[in-house]
């Protein structure tokens, strides 16, 4: 089982979302979810997106954040995010 210690943000974390036309999950919201109770879903394929992190912001917004691995075990990069739909978690 991987460890999930630190989350850093891709420079285009919010830009990836707005480019796709979605309501943006902000860096602050993703940071809030990272330190709350959250669920990790592993990608079985060898893609850069290693895990989905499903959690909740301080205001109760349910979000899914795609995290990429780094050379440093335990440190992850938030790449993009979206609102979690019922049935996702």
């Amino acid at each position: 089982m991987a460890t999930f210690d630190d989350l850093v943000f891709h420079p285009d974390f919010e830009g990836h979302q707005s480019a796709a036309g979605r309501r943006v999950v902000t860096v602050v919201e993703a940071d809030q979810a990272w330190y709350g109770q959250r669920t990790f879903v592993r990608n079985r394929r060898r893609r850069a997106g290693r895990y989905l992190m499903i959690g909740r912001t301080d205001r109760g917004r349910n979000i899914t954040v795609v995290v990429l691995g780094t050379a440093n075990p335990g440190t992850w990069v938030a790449y993009t995010a979206w609102d979690t739909k019922p049935g996702d978690a």
């Binding site: 285009d12 669920t39 990608n43 997106g49 990429l68």
Partner: protein, 135 residues
């Protein structure tokens, strides 16, 4: 595979999908829930800047014997403390170049405005009557 879950992935851009994949790629049955933890008062994010700006940050950091991160952090803190307005820390204004007078005003715009009267007085000083050539 719940339909809503698959539908979520339909809203990804092509670039995102290349990184994220599709819903079927994920081990939903093996999902792991992690308890919340204390949130530190610092967080980390990366920033895309022009190479020229990075070079300038490095030069400042080298001159001051601090890290590039320290310089970038301090710059951001100053910008935020100024309410998001460009804070002018050091304005250099030249008057009467024929007299060789250089006036250097330290401070922000408000301070510069407060110093305008002094500057006007300086402008009225006839050439040749100026004492030191530089202040």
């Amino acid at each position: 595979m719940p339909g809503a879950r698959r539908q979520t992935f339909d809203h990804l851009s092509a670039d995102e999908r290349a990184v994220v994949g599709v819903a079927e790629d994920y081990d939903w049955a093996g999902a792991t829930t992690v308890a919340g933890s204390a949130r530190p008062n610092v967080t980390q994010f990366s920033l895309r800047v022009d190479r020229e700006l990075l070079g300038q940050l490095q030069a400042i950091a080298h001159a001051r014997g601090v890290s590039v991160s320290d310089v970038a952090r301090e710059s951001l803190e100053r910008y935020v403390r100024a309410g998001g307005r460009p804070a002018v820390a050091n304005i250099q204004v030249s008057f009467r170049p024929d007299a060789g007078l250089l006036v250097q005003v330290e401070g922000g715009r408000a301070e510069l405005a407060a110093n305008r009267r002094t500057a006007s007085v300086d402008e009225r000083v006839p050439a040749g009557e100026v004492g030191p050539s530089t202040y």
